[in-house]
């Protein structure tokens, strides 16, 4: 099998497995997987920028929140239906990432991390400031009637699962195609050696800006989808916690791999799930597991697979 075939087989295999899970697994895990798939889209978004382009953003929650509030507020106040609301969510995230990219890319390295973190805090405070509309920390609920997708009820277990599955499939396949395209390879070139990429005639700044926009927009898709499928919009999702979580997922699963984001989200979800059965201090166990993994597998789970088993992993 050629490498390209292996890669396709892997991705379609994963999607087939996820599809089968709906019919095999008990309801609890089906619900969990819906959430995992949506959050994996978010992790894919961050992975494009962090894993492939080598730019570490500590403020991706602002893009997630832009998608979430773009959809939520337009349903609540403009009374639009789900499809245009989803469009507004995506456009909000795309515009925000363009703006943040233009400003933050004037900096590099640690400064870039700090600037993105600060922008995200600003967005968080803006959400709280306009509490009259956003309901701040308390957030607001989208009613079942407001969440009909072309007459399809996304509030049922099956509806939620299949919308999440469809969106995740599109994102995973699109992401895999991006990574293998010449654009994806140029982003990796920038990550590996920015000066060399520039001296091969690539306009590094423009590629970075493009990466920020794609990354931010995909994160916004995840945010809008989360609001749609779980019917809740709240400021927690704009907080720093939701900027750090996707970073942990990507690091755990394997930065710069296509399957890492899904693995990372699933791993952390079930780690917390399992440990919370024994103790209320489950974050302590989750934290310990994270420390151990970063010490012994700094490239994440998919990173281990790539070095030990299958070097062709995209």
């Amino acid at each position: 099998m050629t490498v390209a075939r292996k890669i396709n087989a892997l991705h379609f295999g994963i999607l087939l497995f996820l599809l089968a899970c709906f019919f095999i697994l008990p309801a609890y895990h089906v619900g969990a997987l819906s959430r995992i798939m949506v959050l994996a889209i978010y992790a894919i978004g961050l992975n494009i920028l962090f894993g492939y382009t080598g730019l570490l953003s500590l403020g991706h929650a602002m893009f997630f929140a832009a998608g979430m509030y773009g959809l939520g507020l337009s349903i609540k106040f403009l009374g639009v239906s789900v499809i245009p609301a989803f469009g507004i969510g995506i456009i909000s995230a795309a515009l925000l990432s363009l703006l943040v990219g233009l400003l933050a890319l004037r900096t590099v390295g640690v400064s870039f991390m700090i600037v993105t973190l600060m922008f995200a805090q600003t967005i968080y405070l803006v959400v709280l400031y306009f509490g009259e509309y956003t309901r701040g920390d308390e957030g607001f609920v989208l009613q079942q009637a407001e969440r009909m997708l072309l007459g399809f009820d996304v509030t049922t277990e099956a509806g939620r699962y299949f919308v999440a599955f469809a969106a995740f499939s599109i994102c995973l396949i699109g992401f895999a195609a991006l990574v293998q395209s010449s654009l994806g390879k140029r982003l990796v070139a920038i990550r590996e050696n920015e000066e060399r990429a520039r001296m091969l005639g690539y306009d590094v700044w423009r590629y970075k800006l493009l990466a920020v926009i794609v990354s931010g927009t995909v994160s916004g898709v995840a945010g809008a989808l989360y609001a749609l499928l779980f019917g809740y919009v709240g400021a927690t999702f704009a907080s720093v916690q939701y900027s750090i979580l996707p970073l942990l997922w990507v690091l755990l699963g394997g930065a710069g791999t296509t399957i890492g984001p899904l693995i990372g989200v699933a791993f952390m979800f079930y780690l917390i799930d399992a440990s919370s059965a024994y103790t209320s201090a489950y974050m302590l166990i989750a934290g310990l597991a994270l420390v151990i993994l970063t010490m012994f597998a700094p490239r994440g789970i998919a990173g281990i697979l790539r070095t030990k088993v299958s070097p062709w992993l995209p």
């Binding site: 395209s181 010449s182 390879k185 140029r186 990796v188 070139a189 590996e192 050696n193 000066e195 060399r196 990429a197 520039r198 001296m199 091969l200 005639g201 690539y202 306009d203 590094v204």
Partner: protein, 243 residues
């Protein structure tokens, strides 16, 4: 045969604080020739080619490439016009395969069509003699092979002007022989500007030699003229401890 000018500098100057690294350099580079830029350590050679390629911004002066003033173009735009540059300290994508490295170099101008690109990559790797290592990770190559890879990355761009900053530094004697043969094979169709310390390489490859000393152009001429030049000898033997 009337010589055609490919690149020209006028009054090119770089000062770092009070230090004058390059002072009013007027220089013309002839198309199709191998020109060697030599000079003692600290003479300002890397600064000079840095200003040609755009890595270093000039304090004043102009760089004219194919009758076009490129003084204010950023580095990547100059590369797009047909300059290629290899770094003094090897600069490759160490985490990627040898093939990927060259594909990135060739891929800017070629369409993403896999077959044509692969053929180009293979041909270029063959040219420098490391085609059998295409699938290795670049960082795992020996130092000499990494230097060759970087040269391949330059060649893959089919540059009009190929600037090589101390390409033979750290190479073994046999590798240097291969390098000389490679440069000779390029003579005629690729214009080359070579910064070099190894005098054997300079004498065996260069059609024209320019000598920089203390930031100023000391002498220019054929290899024979330069070896006979008294001020060049003084610069090399009299004033520096550099062998």
């Amino acid at each position: 045969m009337a010589a055609l000018t490919l690149l020209e500098t006028k009054g090119l100057t770089k000062t770092y604080g009070g230090l004058q690294a390059n002072i009013d350099i007027d220089f013309t580079l002839q198309k199709g020739l191998v020109t060697a830029l030599i000079g003692p350590n600290g003479a300002g050679k890397s600064t000079f080619v840095g200003m040609l390629s755009g890595r270093t911004s000039a304090t004043r002066g102009r760089v004219i490439f194919e009758d076009r003033d490129i003084s204010h173009l950023p580095a990547h735009k100059r590369i797009q016009l047909g300059l290629a540059y290899t770094f003094q300290i090897t600069s490759i994508f160490t985490g990627l395969s040898v093939h990927e490295n060259v594909a990135l170099a060739a891929g800017r101008t070629m369409s993403a069509d896999g077959n044509a690109l692969n053929a180009k990559v293979h041909q270029t790797l063959d040219q420098v003699g490391i085609a059998d290592r295409a699938d290795q990770i670049a960082g795992d190559l020996s130092y000499g092979h990494q230097r060759l890879l970087e040269i391949a990355m330059g060649l893959a761009q089919e540059p009009k002007l190929f600037i090589l900053d101390e390409p033979t530094q750290g190479l073994a004697e046999t590798e240097i022989n291969d390098f000389i043969a490679l440069i000779r094979s390029l003579a005629g169709h690729t214009t080359i500007l070579l910064i070099e310390h190894n005098m054997r390489v300079v004498m065996e490859t260069a059609d024209h030699i320019a000598v920089l000393d203390q930031g100023m152009m000391l002498a220019e001429g054929t290899p024979a003229q330069i070896s006979a030049n008294a001020s060049v000898q003084a610069a090399y033997l009299g004033k520096t401890v550099d062998a």
